[in-house]
Amino acid sequence: MHLQLRSIAKRFGAILAVDGVDLDVDGGEVLALLGENGAGKSTLMKLLYGVHRPDAGQVTIDGRATRIDSPRDAMASGIGMVFQQFSVIPALTVRENLALAHASTPWFTGRGARRATAGLAPLAAIAPDVPMDARVSSLSVGQMQLVELAKALQQDPRLLILDEPTAVLGDDEVRRLWSLIRGFATRGLAVVLITHKLADVAACADRVAVMRRGRVVASGAARDFDATRLLRTMVGERDLAAPSTAPLPADAPTRVWIRGLSARGPGSRIDGVDLRIARGEVLGIAGVSGHGQDVLADACAGVLSPDAGEVIVDGETLFAPRQRAPRAGRVAYIPEQPIRNAVAPDLPLALNLHLDRLHTLPAIPDRRRMEADARALLTRFDVRPADPTMAAGRLSGGNLQKLVAARELCGAPALVVASHPTMGLDLAASAFLYHQLFALAQAGSAVLWISEDLDDLLHHAHRIAVLHRGRIAGVVPADQRHRQTIGAWMTGHADAEAA
């Protein structure tokens, strides 16, 4: 297939999200679409997939002008898309989700979807280990991503759009996805891969296009764009100062004690997790997703009531079975999947920035004051557009993540729980977020940082604890020398410690 976009434009109110884009995509090649947060990448692809309709411009597929008014039209034209925000239904099983999305499933399918076999083949091919009859809410983020991909593949697309699929995946999952993507291209599919990760480009892109402020500012063969050139086109001449953590004094006192914590979530559990985090310490939690990270984060932030154990902050038990102190001000929490867990999408940014401290507002809040506070915070964390009256759901994926970070990191919390805090952020925003996070640590906060990116953890954390099957497999100082030990712990080989 050969797809041509010419002079595509889309405006949302005052924002020109896509501003006259020309782009070509060919069968058999992978196009990496890059660019800063809010550049218009997702919007451009949603225009192609019929989620939004362009204000101007033409789409040509194999030489024929094509009008795409809805995702149904897009599918009929052979276009499939995996969105940045998941669209699977958490309350249904994998099988039901796939059956519902499958074209041959009649609308009156009812509970028959339980037994349906329609549309299972792609998932079996790309991820045989995902349990078909588990509820989607119990899957790890990586598995959900694969279910989304399988859903898009069901329609047998000739063009596949993947919007930041690697943002949430661990190393092994990313590698598996890369080889899947290369496989699609070999089979003649055209693939558009939106990403902020240079490694994705190196691993599987044939061509790259970089967007800024709604325009494509650079494009060409991937081999002509080495990492330095890509960086320069993406962030300009600005110098991205590498963030760093201050060394931890040997006598730093314990600030947070996660004591024998056990808790159960929908898909996983933690069992007797015992960790102490010193004042000023950044403790990384490594592990393959689905081993209890979300439960640990929720329990440490007091969202999930533990079955046993307690979270002790500054000597005071905040959370324990049947005991939950308000976390506002003391425990900051950046959960995974902010759109699901951390924002009210149809309410304004100003309100979203006050979400965790609503009870501190006066009984009749002063809107103008809220908005003024919000505007300052939005500017400080570079959330764009910095319009406090805008509904949060209209932000781009990365800006939504910045919004949550702005709310949680603006105070002086004793404990920061951050799950994949840089998910979906562009390089500059990632660097900024790390600066903020590590500055809090330096000011005395204890930071619990959950990540799938072992390199990042090894670079920035003070110590790394590995979570495996809900238990702490071990804790080591963050040092390249321990990489193998950590890897072994992550896969459950506790005895490989000697290696």
Binding site: R327, R340, N341, A344, D346, L347, L358, I364
Partner: protein, 348 residues
């Protein structure tokens, strides 16, 4: 396709506003309906207007019908502010009527000035109790509130029937199943020399107060967050259960108040079927108003007038009064159509 023309038509229609468009669609639909049942649409619409607002008596009857609908609409809109869909206003109406009647009957031989306030308070508490039941089932056992409120509607209506056929039946009423006549001390003051009573003013005042509280107060923001994303509310430390119970309780109290006020001031005694669908009309009004408390006021008056015109239709045009139920239905169809048309693929 004709996308361009449709878009242009939509752009031209936009300034007219939804209400005007919906009203126009409604008139067309109603006229078509009259034509289908073999009546002259124009003269029938004339009869409806006459019967709804032709003279002060007609206006009074319209307001009488509007009063319980207004309160029941508020009773539906409040739970909806946290995303709960209650269809229980009808049952809460009856529960309020029962509780308030109980108070009146127990004070009967010597009614004093305390009877009216006590009756109103217990009536509100009765509605609140029934609504809280559904709220507790939802927050404690995850029982869907729409189903439970639907079921309690039947229970409460049957309980009234049982009471007026049995223990509370007035010996003086001979065959007719009803309680004794309420004393004058149990009646809300009447307005301008008609059957309209102070409940209407109470309803309007409550709608305004609720509107201010829901849109201006911190509590209103909390409810907004819980409706928009309960999970984010939980992560932010907001208490869904508590707030769900509060709105269910308040909503139930409003419907209960409607029930006892209607019983005492309009019917003058408790008997079966006194709600006359006010709970359901209230639900539809709340939906039409998109749970906006101020919009509920004129819409209740409109629907009340429509229903009141049913009696006029029966008398002057010899059509069954159920025709007005069809007309009420057409009103909702009209609004649905207009909303659907304006919202379809609206850009952005």
């Amino acid at each position: 396709m004709s996308g361009g023309t449709v878009d242009r038509a939509r752009a031209m229609a936009a300034p007219l506003g939804r209400p005007a468009l919906a009203a126009a669609a409604f008139v067309v639909l109603a006229a078509a309906f009259f034509a289908v049942i073999g009546r002259n649409p124009l003269s029938m619409i004339g009869v409806v207007l006459e019967a709804a607002a032709g003279d002060s008596y007609a206006i009074g009857e319209s307001l009488v019908r509007a009063t319980p609908i207004l309160l029941c609409a508020l009773a539906t809109a409040l739970p909806a502010r946290v995303g709960l869909i209650s269809v229980g206003a009808e049952g809460q109406f009856y529960a309020g009527a029962i509780a308030g009647t109980g108070t009146v009957l127990s004070m009967l031989p010597t009614p004093g000035w305390t009877m009216l306030p006590l009756m109103l308070v217990t009536g509100a508490l009765g509605g609140m109790a029934l609504s809280l039941l559904a709220g507790l089932l939802r927050t404690g056992l995850q029982v869907n509130e729409t189903i439970s409120t639907l079921l309690t509607n039947y229970v409460a209506a049957l309980l009234v029937t049982w009471l007026v056929y049995g223990p509370w039946k007035s010996p003086a009423s001979q065959g007719w199943p009803a309680t004794v006549e309420f004393p004058a001390a149990a009646k809300l003051p009447a307005l301008f020399d008609s059957r309209v009573h102070a409940g209407l003013l109470i309803g309007i005042a409550l709608a305004v107060v609720l509107h201010l509280v829901l849109t201006r107060s911190r509590w209103g923001l909390v409810l907004d967050v819980l409706r928009s994303n309960p999970r984010a509310g939980l992560v932010a430390g907001l208490d869904f259960r508590r707030n769900a119970l509060i709105v269910m309780a308040l909503g139930g109290a409003l419907a209960g108040l409607a029930g006892i006020a209607e019983t005492a001031s309009i019917q003058g005694r408790l008997q079966s079927d006194i709600a006359g669908g006010a709970g359901f009309s209230g639900f539809l009004v709340a939906w039409l108003a998109r749970n906006h408390c101020l919009r509920i006021i004129p819409l209740s008056l409109l629907v009340g007038a429509l229903l009141a015109s049913g009696d006029g239709l029966q008398m002057f045009a010899q059509v069954p009064s159920s025709v007005t139920l069809v007309i009420q239905g057409l009103l909702f169809v009209a609004v649905l159509l207009v909303n659907g048309w304006l919202d379809r693929k609206r850009p952005g």
